[in-house]
Amino acid sequence: MALSLFNILIFPGFLFLGVYSLAFEYIDRIIYARMQNRQGPPWFQPLADFLKLVGKETIIPEDADKNIFKALPIFAMAAVTAAFLYVPITGVNSLFPFEGDLIVVLYLLTIPTLTFFLAGWMSSSLYSTIGAVRAMTQLFSYEVPLFMALLAPAILAGTWSLSGIAAYYHANPLWILVNIPAFLVAIVAIQGKLERLPFDMPEAETELCAGTFTEYSGRLLAIFRMAIDAELVVVAAIVAAVFFPIFVANAWLGFLIFVIKTLVVAFILAIFRSVMARIRIEQMVIFCWKYLTPVALLQIVINIVIKGVL
């Protein structure tokens, strides 16, 4: 009981997730900056930003529903934190593994996007509303390829549990090569999920101010920002667990490998972000359904065939 509580609240739960997501944001920003030949922020910048936002005045629009407006950031943060508990960190096993947790994690990760939509819609401001609609449109285009890209390895592994998938590929590491198309699809779709360039239309600052978060300020915005950072960590951890099957039994070494793997994912995501221009929402829908989804479908077909042959 005490250990579980420790696990949930401190490591690898809430507190670790918070610290690690701030570190992740820093890494993301510094790589982005260095690719642009800039100095980049100092190491404490994400924390300083967070604390500054926490200290700021929170302004709630008159027309907004106050309770929902205040609750949404917490929903987002809670969903992301809950999802983190089912992702393997120190080894093959996650904290509370069970058969089917992959689906649970994916659904928990959809909740932040839904809260973004609701946040935009509840703000009853023009820019937020347009951002909210865009977030929803985007959700429908990247969610399908992302799910399929993560389900394809699961089909091959014959389990719906993240820990199970990790264990399977740990035992048969060469099979991961089959999943390379799925990995590429996942990396692209994750950019959409995390609303990062080139898919950051919901909060395209040069078009919609801050999109869905236009009306958010102070500590509510701080929690939202934290949730987005944490989502980045969770998604990177899932990708690391599913597509990078390197695990060891030793907890400390396992944790180190986890950090390295997620950093690699963060690096790839940062490069992706640096070299692309933001595309239009209709271009994104077309791209996702025309290219990403067929590739993901093909991956599933391949995996089913392989599974059948085996």
């Binding site: 790589i31 900056a33 260095r34 690719m35 642009q36 030949n37 800039r38 100095q39 980049g40 490069i271 992706f272 640096s274 070299v275 692309m276």
Partner: protein, 147 residues
């Protein structure tokens, strides 16, 4: 050939390069010697003709006689908040007693600090240099007013 993410190789190359930006208050401030910053006045040469005041587009520089008609005491004041650093006054000055310095960090918390008396400033600088400088130079400086 056209493909997405064409900048990738170029951008990755910059990971190993030193950044082009600097963290401003730290480190050195590099300003070209020809940069027009704050004005300084060589008050001894000033005859108070007011040509600088006439040509100043921002009405930033003022010449006033604080002494009497016989015993003139010209004071040149510069409002740094109005000054646009064009240095037209420098070109207009027949005596060449105005010059610029590369000093550009002029912001302050108080508006009154921005109105500077160039004559007083020059006198203060003279006093400091007279203290610090060797005796010979001080002698040269003192010799001038007597001429």
């Amino acid at each position: 050939m056209a493909y997405p993410g064409k900048i990738t190789k170029f951008a990755m190359g910059h990971l190993s390069k030193a950044p082009a930006t600097r963290a401003f208050p730290l480190g050195e401030l590099i300003i070209t010697p020809h940069f027009r910053g704050k004005l300084v006045l060589k008050a001894d040469d000033c005859i108070g003709c007011g040509l600088c005041e006439r040509d100043c587009p921002a009405y930033a520089i003022k010449v006033e006689n604080r002494g009497t008609k016989e015993n003139k005491d010209f004071h040149v004041t510069l409002n740094l908040a109005h000054c646009i650093f064009c240095c037209q006054c420098m070109d207009s000055c027949r005596k060449g007693c105005l010059s610029y310095t590369p000093n550009v960090q002029l912001a302050g918390f108080n508006k009154d600090d921005l109105i500077v008396d160039l004559t007083e400033e020059w006198k203060a600088a003279q006093a400091v240099s007279a203290e610090e400088a060797p005796a010979e130079e001080a002698a040269v400086d003192e010799a001038k007013p007597e001429e």
